[in-house]
């Protein structure tokens, strides 16, 4: 392996998998838009091909410029820019699917949350690689929590719950990687679990029992225990209150996210159709361009959010499993590069970027097989979308950047 020999070369398996997935993506964008009923979308695969060229160039630049420029002040610059764009989106963003997620210049549309994700990873990597950092001190968590919490809340306000949770995933993954003990991680996540559990009493009682047991056995001092208990009590009391004060349509929107089958219109039906498409692919699939569920045009998003359903229908278990394994390889290489990097900042940067991929891939695929709610998150590299493809390549480029310089302290 190039990496182990230390030639300073790129990680070849990662490069190979990335480009292969992007090409598979273009093939299935072509397939998903090939029906006569979708004449307006026939040229999309060509657009995606042009974007791939741009993305490759972008990825090369991201890999070539040494990662050290992202250390220190420039991290703040990037982060503040990302936040400003998010705030801007709230005021002048394009409304799509009932949320303001996009900023646009002419035909170009761009989700500022993409930049904010990378910027948050860079800033967190800076915080967590500080020499005097001691994660056993509660105070050391304040900066990372705020850094991830602000974009989380801004995106939640759009409202885009699916994307906002990315910031929490990044935070928790990087804290774990930086050495936060599992106990602390659990206590940190506990308010989030609390909110979800408070809708269902038995789940909440179970949660409260587990939390109490963990706290009892933790041998923490009294102050931090009381702090965790207080936060959880506040969250537990406030959540139902907030819920009762919401307007009926607001409640319905949240209920739909938590349980799409409660949605009288769309998402539950989309998931059933997606499951039929994938399941009916059987072992070998119906053949490229021959998907019949796809032809029903049951979803307007089959070349974007539901592209994995088309893969499953047309190439069967063999194709779907192959694509899934390719994604696993991509993430495995990311973890490996993070592990081998000698510089603590570089290692954290690599794992943070990898966690973005991990979250998106899992949430999207799980959605198409009926494991997760419909969130509107694309499948990185495969889904149609120029800026999304470019962002993915920039992120992979950064990971390659670290692979090439793994020896540096």
């Amino acid at each position: 392996m190039a990496l182990l020999r230390g030639t300073g070369d790129v990680d070849r398996p990662l490069l190979f998998v990335t480009v292969l997935l992007a090409l598979i993506g273009i093939a299935f964008v072509f397939s998903a838009t090939s029906m006569t009923s979708a004449s307006a979308e026939h040229g999309l695969y060509l657009k995606q091909l042009i974007w791939l060229v741009v993305a490759l160039a972008g990825g090369a630049v991201a890999a070539a410029v040494p990662y050290r420029i992202y250390m220190g002040k420039s991290a703040w610059l990037l982060y503040v820019m990302g936040l400003m764009l998010l705030v801007l989106t709230l005021f002048i963003g394009h409304v799509g699917l009932g949320a303001q997620r996009w900023l646009g210049w002419g035909p170009l549309k761009f989700q500022p949350s993409e930049l904010a994700k990378v910027a948050t990873v860079v800033l967190l990597a800076n915080f967590l690689s500080e020499r005097k950092l001691d994660l056993t001190q509660m105070g050391s968590l304040v900066k990372p929590l705020v850094a991830a919490g602000v974009p989380f809340l801004l995106v939640l306000k759009q409202p885009d719950l699916g994307t906002s949770v990315t910031f929490l995933t990044i935070l928790f993954t990087m804290l774990y990687w930086a050495g936060l003990p599992l106990l602390y991680l659990f206590l940190l996540v506990s308010p989030v679990i609390n909110v979800a559990a408070s809708f269902f009493l038995p789940a909440w009682i179970l949660f409260a029992a587990v939390l109490s047991a963990v706290l009892y056995r933790s041998r923490l001092r009294l102050a931090p225990i009381l702090f965790v208990v207080a936060i959880n009590l506040v969250v537990g009391i406030v959540t139902p209150q907030v819920w009762n004060h919401l307007k009926p349509y607001q409640r319905q929107r949240i209920a739909t996210f938590l349980d799409p089958s409660a949605d009288p219109y769309g998402s539950g039906y989309q998931i059933i159709q997606s499951k039929i498409a994938i399941g009916s692919g059987q072992v070998l699939g119906k053949g490229f361009l021959h998907g019949s569920q796809k032809a029903l045009a049951f979803l307007p998003e089959q070349h974007t959010d539901f592209i994995f359903s088309v893969v499953g229908e047309e190439t069967g278990f063999l194709g779907a499993a192959a694509v899934t394994i390719l994604y696993f390889v991509l993430i495995y290489r990311g973890i490996r590069i993070a592990h081998h990097a000698r510089n603590r900042f570089a290692s954290l940067l690599a794992i943070g970027l990898t966690s973005i991929f991990l979250y998106h891939v899992l949430v999207n695929i799980c959605m198409t097989v009926g494991f997760a709610p419909v969130t509107g998150l694309p499948l990185p590299l495969l889904s149609y979308g120029g800026t999304s493809l470019l962002t993915s390549f920039l992120q992979i480029g950064l990971i390659q950047n670290i692979a090439m310089r793994w020896r540096e302290y």
Binding site: G279, S280, I325, A338
Partner: protein
């Protein structure tokens, strides 16, 4: 919990754990794919080839609307809607067939096929639900469609609650109507859960309280097999029952409302508003001419819509809140109040110039409405007989600034704040306004004369007039008019919507003595033998009022009347306007009289709550 912050972050232990967790999750995904595609693949293949799974939306009935006594103003009746699923397998396999089905449906439903085609393309584009082609289809058509099921693929008859307004034309502007949600309304992120073809409140109460009235739609999953038959899809999901919208109780008194509407001559245009001056409850809010909101429930044709919205009398226009009119002499009690409050006059003050039918100001002569003249009058008689010459002189003595200041203090140019959509703002101009309009100082001082008799640029909505009348009636509280009395959702009262005792209105500091003088003068308007408002007299009730006859650029004078009763403890305040109907005393006061009569002495043929329906 051993942990060394100085160590390399990616320790072997953490890397191994992290990789293992990720590996397990991916293995679960692969297992899921294996189960779905290999083990259950046959079942899914069958579903994709033989059958079509559809979701059927079960529309929720909108909430009932009742008057303050429980009389039903809006409810729902069962009806049939013919739908077409453009993504039926037949049309996916053979898109050309869709056109012939649409053409056939055009004949069956009696609708232009081109319109149907547009609707299918428009509504079918963004949802995967059947397109609702025509609502409230009769039983014969339903039977015909059912019999010809096999040659009408994807066509179905759905059961849908139809909005009904049992009293027909009555209170149409207040209640509003429902219609299919527009593209523009769909762009609002707060309406994310609306789909094309859904009904939404468009005007009045239906629009204002849409989020409560709407309810929550239910759904069921059905499997349509090759024979076109439907079966409940077992195993996947249970049907979700629809939930009816919240029940609304209004402050409106249907009998008073009916009296107000019937008091207008056939073909008359105008508005009448009655408020409870103690609380701001709207007891009646009428606008003439009416329209029939039932027409909209089934979907209205383009031609009919044009006739209603652009036709000569603009029946859709709610004249009680959307139109502002010159108040004419109905403004005089407020000008008198301004005079008393600023000390410009006392109740006994008389002016130098006696009224001989006209008043000379500079080179211009300002006429009194009565060419015979009124002689020299003090406040009481000047109001009772509506002497213009008295108010010209009061206007000059006050000056524009003092008069405009007072009008601002009593919020004349603000909206009344009633909980109905699209209320228009009124206007009482001041020097700043004239400077802006004509250039600084380039306007005549004589303007104040016209303003003092309610002419000029002043304009008020009928509901605003009623609100201002309440101010005099209740002794200085600017109540907030409201039409909602109670909202009941899931058997519970929704709170926070209705004005509580504390928030009934804004207290305005008016001297009790000044108010008493104005009230006495307004009582004289109705009670005195020379009073202009004799037409509003009601047996055994002391009524106070003021007539108005407003010149306007649109033709004959508008007739107005404001009033309240009983004088010593007012329970009702009214404002009546009849467009281009002439004198307030003959055209508007009698309408107010009939409203007050209905309020204080209800007739035998009252509308009553029927025990069951």
């Amino acid at each position: 919990m051993l942990f060394d912050p100085e160590s390399l972050s990616g320790s072997r232990y953490r890397q191994r754990n992290f990789t293992a967790v990720v590996g397990i999750i991916f293995a679960l995904v692969l297992l899921r794919l294996f189960t779905m595609q290999v083990l259950q693949g046959g079942k899914y293949r069958e579903l994709s080839e033989e059958n079509r799974i559809r979701v059927e939306v079960i529309a929720a009935p909108r909430g009932d609307i009742r008057d303050r006594n429980g009389l039903l103003l809006a409810d729902n009746v069962p009806s049939f809607t013919v739908t077409l699923d453009p993504f039926d397998k037949t049309y996916v396999d053979n898109p050309g067939l869709l056109d012939s089905t649409v053409a056939r449906l055009g004949v069956i439903l009696g609708v232009d096929a081109t319109l149907l085609r547009e609707k299918v393309q428009h509504d079918g584009r963004q949802s995967f639900l059947p397109v609702r082609l025509r609502r409230n289809v009769d039983r014969t058509t339903v039977a015909y469609v059912a019999e010809h099921e096999s040659v009408l693929p994807g066509v179905d008859v759905e059961f849908e609650p139809l909005r009904r307004y049992p009293l027909g034309l009555m209170a149409s502007h207040l209640l509003g109507y429902v219609g299919e949600v527009s593209d523009k309304e769909l762009e609002d992120p707060d309406r994310a859960e609306y789909l094309r073809g859904d009904l939404i409140g468009k005007m009045g109460i239906e629009r204002q309280y849409e989020s409560y009235l709407r309810g929550e739609a239910g759904k069921r999953f059905v499997e349509v097999n090759a024979m076109g038959r439907k079966a409940e899809l077992l195993g996947e999901k249970h049907p979700i029952q629809p939930k009816q919208g919240a029940a609304l109780t209004l402050t409106i008194d249907a009998n008073l409302q009916r009296a107000a509407e019937q008091a207008f001559a056939p073909g008359a245009r105008g508005a009448a508003v009655a408020l409870d001056p103690r609380t701001g409850e709207v007891l009646a809010l009428a606008s003439k001419p009416n329209y029939d909101p039932n027409e909209f429930s089934t979907g209205i044709t383009q031609e009919r819509w044009s006739a209603l919205s652009e036709g000569g009398n603009f029946p859709l226009f709610n004249r009680a809140i959307q139109a502002a009119y010159p108040p004419g002499s109905t403004l005089k009690p407020f000008v008198a109040l301004a005079g008393l409050m600023t000390g410009a006059i006392q109740p006994g003050t008389t002016f130098r110039e006696t009224c001989n039918g006209a008043f000379q100001f500079g080179r211009r002569s300002f006429k009194c409405w009565n060419p015979q003249g009124h002689g020299t009058l003090a406040l009481r008689d000047a109001v009772a007989r509506s002497c213009d010459v008295y108010f010209y002189q009061l206007g000059i003595r006050l000056g524009l600034d003092r008069l405009a200041d007072f009008m601002k203090r009593i919020h004349v140019s603000d909206r009344s704040g009633v909980d109905l959509p699209q209320e228009r703002r009124g206007l009482f101009p001041d020097a700043v306004w004239y400077d802006k309009r004509y250039g600084a100082g380039k306007w005549s001082r004589g303007l104040v004369l016209n303003l003092a008799i309610g002419q000029g640029e002043t304009s008020l909505t009928p509901i605003k007039l009623a609100q201002l009348t309440s101010l005099i009636a209740n002794g200085g509280t600017m109540i907030r008019p409201h039409v909602i009395r109670e909202v009941e959702e899931d058997g519970r009262r929704v709170t926070g919507l209705i004005a509580t005792q504390d928030s009934i209105g804004v207290r305005i500091d008016l001297s009790p003595a000044a108010l008493a003088s104005v009230r006495a003068a307004m009582e004289a308007v109705v009670a005195d033998e020379h009073g202009t408002g004799y037409g509003a007299r009601v047996d055994s009730v002391r009524v106070a009022g003021k007539t108005g006859t407003a010149q306007n650029p649109h033709g004959n004078d508008h007739a107005l009347f404001i009033g309240f009763a009983p004088v010593d403890n007012p329970r009702i305040a009214v404002a009546v306007l009849v467009e281009n109907a002439g004198h307030g005393s003959t055209a508007a006061a009698p309408i107010a009289q009939k409203m007050l009569q209905a309020f204080f002495h209800p007739a035998a043929d009252t509308l009553r709550v029927v025990a069951s329906r």
